[in-house]
Amino acid sequence: MSEASADLDRVRAVVDAHRALRGALLPILHEIQAEFGHVDAAAVPVVAEGLNLSQAEVAAVLAFYRDFRTTAPGRHRIRICRAEACLARGADALLDHVRARLSLDLDQTGADGRFTLEPVWCLGNCALGPSVEIDGRLHGRVDAARFDEVMP
């Protein structure tokens, strides 16, 4: 998101659409992020004003929840499960492979903006691990070879 006024108008529209909800802040931030990929600092005062909150209250929610980003992610978002059931099936070896393959560590976005690599604690696919989510799509039974096949 840029600070372009058209984008901020869109943020205002999202806020207006959800203002009547009780506990509207998370649904609003989810929708802004779904549209722009992240929640820009410029959106914070707009959301705060629309919900009659302080900017600090909005910023605190953005900071607390792992899902919300304040910077643009890579074009492809790869989340790799780090929970026990996937570890039991070789998730550590898979992570080593993915790190080397993407030249990225966890919670990093490549300089070319292509990939963002993130850890996730459980995708609910614990009998079919190791699990990886790529651009919102869940993959199970992922080993190094399978990762190379499904990698965008």
Binding site: L26, E57, F64, Y65, A83, L87, A88, W121, C122, A127
Partner: protein
Amino acid sequence: MSRRIRVFVPRDAAALSVGADAVAAAILAEADHRDADVHLVRTGSRGLLWLEPLVEVEVDGRRHAYGPVAAADVPGLFDAGFLAAGPHALAHGPTEEIPWLMRQTRLTFARCGIVDPLSPTDYCAHGGHTGLARAVRMEPAAIVAEITASGLRGRGGAGFPTGLKWQTVHDAPAEEKFVCCNADEGDGGTFADRMIMEGDPFLLIEGMTIAGMAVGARHGWIYVRSEYPHAVATLRAAVARAYAEGWLGGDVLGSGRVFDLEVRVGAGAYVCGEETAMLESLEGRPGLVRAKPPLPALEGLFGRPTVVNNVLTLASVPVILAEGAAFYRDFGAGRSHGTQPFQLCGNVARGGLVELAFGVPLATLVDDFGGGTASGRPVRAVQVGGPLGAWLAASDLGLSADYETLAASGAMLGHGGIVVFDDTVDMGAMARAAMAFCAEESCGKCTPCRIGSTRARELLDRILDGRAGPAERALLDELCALMRDASLCALGGLAPLPVESALARFPEDFTPEAAARRAR
């Protein structure tokens, strides 16, 4: 023209993760190519996850199973006459006669994997709404009494008597009350909530509606974790259909009673599975745990009396109303009544959803259902009850899976997840991972959890590196005791459990010799 043949392919996230959509597309393409009149039904998962994608064909009213099917297998299946239940290397015979499924007691998961999750017709044809239809004719206090008599306890992990919680909300005088479903299934090694939300969402809606009738709440909320996008989409579609059918809204089943339902999505915070943190999140704030009292049953969402129950708890309610409290109470062991959907996973040959009455030995689950490890190596360790559950050794598997037996052994059932590891596991690393997880996910409100988890992780680093002596071990023990006794919620309170149980049962992984092996 030949009769239409019904073929079933799951749309559960686990099945999709191993190619169910490609299999479904291949079946339709092949049927088209061969002029076969196939009607494809997308279902939830039967829970035989090691066989996913599991394809079923209905022949003379019985379903026959094939799995795990890859898209490339589909032409061969047609060649083998699978539309007439023909033999094939991937065939398992009639689904209901697969021993793994036949030996289960499916009460909560009775419909999951069988019906189209979003078909109101299927839901009613398979026994749906029998419980709610009875509940709408009952006095609220009588519904609560039925749940109390059933012995149902909270399936989220704490095992609190559901009837008592409902009674408290029922008795609280307030203009507005709420029912909140905790669907923030964040424990690694658990997926039963997800399977219900994706495979039988009307069941959850029915259970919540009954809860609303029982306590006098007219509004319900389902808080689903964002890591479950399929569950969110299925629930939202199911809620819309339930409104269209008159199952939700201003006149539930023509009873004149009101129940509205809303789906909200979390944002990647494990601690929001703690009920008061979830309420904070629903209200639009950071998920900071609240001090109790006041209990959420008295001052919950927006300060109103609120029932907070796990998905599996609420999904157990309809069968209790349909069949009566005595029917449900008769399953189980001791004070653990009814059935528990166990989630068998990790390094296990036949992982999936096993619903059985409480009291089954863990060995039956791990060895008989699970078939040992997927790697073929010996089972060394099993973690029961999520990332904050205790580690058990292979020699502990004689323990009965019920609340009291596990608690007496210093373990806990939690949400019923059972994660199996083979003999290559480094229990030192697993213990450290538990504290690292707690440090990562702590909401930061109380000091024992916020600071204790980081200090404990640092101590474990030193023990694992061989830099620690008896003083560090004593300090770790002290820190674990402090976290257990003084943390505000179960995150900090339980994080010592995996550490202490690993230290007690696998001491050989915490020695200087183990550290030297690790360094090599």
